[in-house]
C-alpha cells in the first residue's frame, strides 16, 4: 500500500482558513473524470452536439448588431459591429456560465454530497474547467469571424501585444465567476430565493459591463463609474484591445480586477468550505 497510516480527526468546526487545498489536490483525478463525464454526457444526449455551442453566440451577435448597432446606433469605437459584439459575448459567456453553474452546485449535487465525502471544491472547479471547452469552441468561432473581417472584408483593425495577456484574462474570468458562484451557492443553501436572483442578476450585470458599448463612451456619462469599477470591465476591454486593437487598457485597471478577483475567490472558498460541512442537514 502506498499510503501511510495517517491520523485524522473529525471536529465540529475547522478553522476558517483551512482551505483544504491539499485535500483537493489529492482528488485531482476526480476533477478530470468529472470534466470528462460532463463532456461525454453532453455529446450523447443532444442531436446537434457541439453545434449548440455555435448557435447561441451567433444569434446573440445578430440581435445585438441589429438592436444596439443599427437601431440605437451605439458607438463601437470604429470596429465592425458584429466583431465588437462577438468579442464581448464570447468573453462574457464564459464568465456568466461559470457563475450560474457554480451557483447551483449544492442543489445539483445534493444527492452525491449527501452520500459520500470528497473535497467539495472539486465540483465547482470541474464546472469551470468543463466550461472552458465550450469557451474554446466559441473562441474558435470568434477567430473565424475575425479572419473573415481581416482578410475578406478588409476591416481596419489589428492585434496588439496585449494578446499575450489572453491566458491571464481567461483565468481571471474563471476565478471571478468561480468565486462569486461559490459565494452565491453557499448562501442559496439557506436562503433559496437567492437562486432566482442569479439568472436575472447576471443579465443585469452584463449591461453594466462593456459588452454592448465601449468603455471610452460610457466613462464620461453620469453613472459611468459603475461600469468602470465593475471588475469584469477591464477583462473585456483587455480582451478587445488584444485581439481587435481597440479598447481601454490600463495596468491599473487590470491590477484592480486581479485584486478584486483574488479577494472574492478567497472569500468564496472560505464560505463555501464552511457551508459545505453542514449543508446536508439543511438542504
Amino acid at each position: 500500500m502506498n499510503h501511510q497510516q495517517h491520523h485524522w480527526s473529525i471536529e465540529p468546526r475547522n478553522s476558517l482558513f483551512d482551505l483544504k487545498l491539499k485535500d483537493t489536490w489529492a482528488y485531482r483525478d476526480l476533477l478530470w473524470l468529472l470534466v470528462r463525464r460532463d463532456f461525454v454526457s453532453f455529446y450523447k444526449q443532444t442531436i446537434l452536439g457541439p453545434l449548440w455551442f455555435f448557435i447561441q453566440p451567433i444569434f446573440t451577435t445578430i440581435i445585438f448588431t441589429f438592436v444596439f448597432g443599427q437601431m440605437a446606433k451605439i458607438s463601437t469605437d470604429g470596429l465592425p459591429q458584429p466583431l465588437f459584439y462577438m468579442a464581448g459575448i464570447t468573453a462574457w459567456n464564459y464568465f456568466a456560465d461559470c457563475l450560474t453553474k457554480t451557483s447551483t452546485v449544492f442543489k445539483d449535487n445534493a444527492n452525491i454530497f449527501g452520500k459520500v465525502y470528497f473535497p467539495r471544491l472539486i465540483m465547482p472547479l470541474s464546472i469551470v474547467v468543463s466550461n472552458l471547452v465550450r469557451f474554446g469552441v466559441q473562441f474558435l468561432l470568434f477567430l473565424m469571424v475575425m479572419a473573415y473581417y481581416y482578410f475578406i472584408a478588409k476591416a481596419d483593425f489589428g492585434i496588439t501585444w496585449a494578446i499575450l495577456l489572453f491566458p491571464l484574462v481567461v483565468v481571471l474570468m474563471a476565478l471571478l465567476g468561480l468565486g462569486l458562484g461559490m459565494l452565491i451557492s453557499a448562501m442559496t443553501t439557506k436562503y433559496r430565493d437567492l437562486a432566482f436572483l442569479v439568472t436575472f442578476g447576471v443579465q443585469l450585470l452584463m449591461y453594466a459591463t462593456t459588452v454592448i458599448y465601449p468603455l471610452s463612451t460610457i466613462a464620461k456619462k453620469p453613472l459611468g463609474w459603475i461600469v468602470a469599477y465593475n471588475p469584469m470591465t477591464p477583462l473585456i476591454e483587455t480582451f478587445r484591445y488584444g485581439f481587435l486593437g481597440n479598447g481601454t487598457f490600463s495596468w491599473e485597471a487590470l491590477g484592480y480586477t486581479t485584486a478584486v478577483t483574488l479577494g472574492i475567490l478567497m472569500l468564496g472558498i472560505v464560505i463555501f468550505n464552511k457551508v459545505e460541512k453542514n449543508f446536508v442537514d439543511t438542504v
Binding site: H3, S9, P12, R37, K115, F118, K190
Partner: protein, 416 residues
Amino acid sequence: MSNIAIKAENLSKAYQLGEIGTGTISRDLERWYARIRGKEDPFLRIGETNDRTSRGNSDIVWSLKDINFEIEQGDAVGIIGRNGAGKSTLLKVLSRVTSPTSGRIIGKGRIASLLEVGTGFHPELTGRENIYLNGAILGMRKKEITRKFDEIVAFAGVERYIDTPVKRYSSGMYVRLAFAVAAHLESEILIVDEVLAVGDAEFQKKCLGKMGEVSKGEGRTVLFVSHNMASVRELCNNGFLLSNGQLSFNGDINAAISQYISSNSKVASEIKHLKGSQEIQIIGVHVNQATEAQVNIFETLEISIDFKSNINEDKTIEFFIIIYNELGQEILTIFQRDTNQYVKSLAQQASSVKVTFDNKLKPGKYSISGGIFDEFRNFIDWSSTNTSFVVENNFYNGGQFDNRLGLIYEKPTWDF
C-alpha cells in the same frame, strides 16, 4: 492510541426541526450576536434527548448525544438500533458527509464509506467509465483503479458489457458493478450501510463474504449498520446499540443483539378495547417478540397474542389478527378458523398463542389489532394495540428500481 482505529469523544449532533430557510435570517443574527458576546447559542438546549414519542419544547433535537467509544483495529462492529436511533447520523458523521455539533472523532487510516452504492454513476457512461468515475468519487487514484480494474470487473461479472452504457444494464448488474468498485477500495476502515447487502441471495453472500474477508483476513476495521440481525451476527464481533441518540450498549455482538430485542419488547403494550364482552381479554401483542419490530420481505413473521380469561369456565375460542398500513387501511386479516384450529381457553388463566407466516407485505409501517371470537363467531374481544412493525425495503423490493404496484409481494413458482 496504539491499536485504536477510531475513537469518539463526547460526540453529539443536533438537528433543527421544522422548516429551515424561512425566518432564519433574524435567528441567524441572534445567534451571531450571542456568539460575538461569547455566549452559547441561544437555540441549542443541552439535555434534551432524541425521543420521537415525546414532543420536545425546542425545535432542536439531539440525534446523537455524548457518544463515547473506541474501536480497535480489525474489529467488525455492528451498529444496531431502532429507526431514528441515530445509526445513520453516526455513519454520516463518520464518513464526513456532515460534521458533528460538538465532540470529536479521532482515528487513523483511510476511511471508505459506502452509504449507497453507485453514487455518481452516470447512466450515459459505459461501465468502464463509471468504474473510474465512481472509484475517484470514493477517493481512489486513477492508477489505483487501473491496477484493480480487472479484479473489479471479474467480481461484478460484467466482462461482456464493460463498454456498454450502464443505462442498458439490468438492475442486478448495475448494483454488482457498483458494489465491486466499493469493495476494492484500499482502506483501513470500511463503513457500510445495509443497503449494500443487496442483490440476489448469491451475490449477497458474495458481498458478506467479501466484507468478512476484509475484516477477518485483511485486518481492516468494519462498521456495519443493519436491521438484519442474522448478517450482523455473522459479520461482526462487537456491537453498538443506539437508542434515542445515545450509546446504550457497547460490547459483544450477541449481547448487543439480545439487549436490542429485549429493549424492543420493553415498550409497554397499550391495548385499547374496541368491541366484545372481554370475558377473555387480550393483554399483549408482539411481532417477533417485540412491540416495535423490523422485518424483512419474505422472512418469517411471528405474531404472538397474550390473553387471559376472566371467567370460571373453559371455552373454545378463535383468534383473528388484522394488519393495517400507515393510512389505517386494512391490508390483511388472519382468521384462525381458516386452518381449522381453535384454542381452548382455561378458566381464570393467562396464556398465549402464536402465528407465523412469510411476510409478503410491501415495505412500510404496519400496525396490528387482534381479537377473539367464540366458536360461533361472536366477539369476545377486539382490541387495537400500539404494536407496530416496519417492513424494510432492500434493493429489489421497494428500492429505487422497484416500481411495482400493489401492496403484497409474492414469490410464486413459474413453469415454462
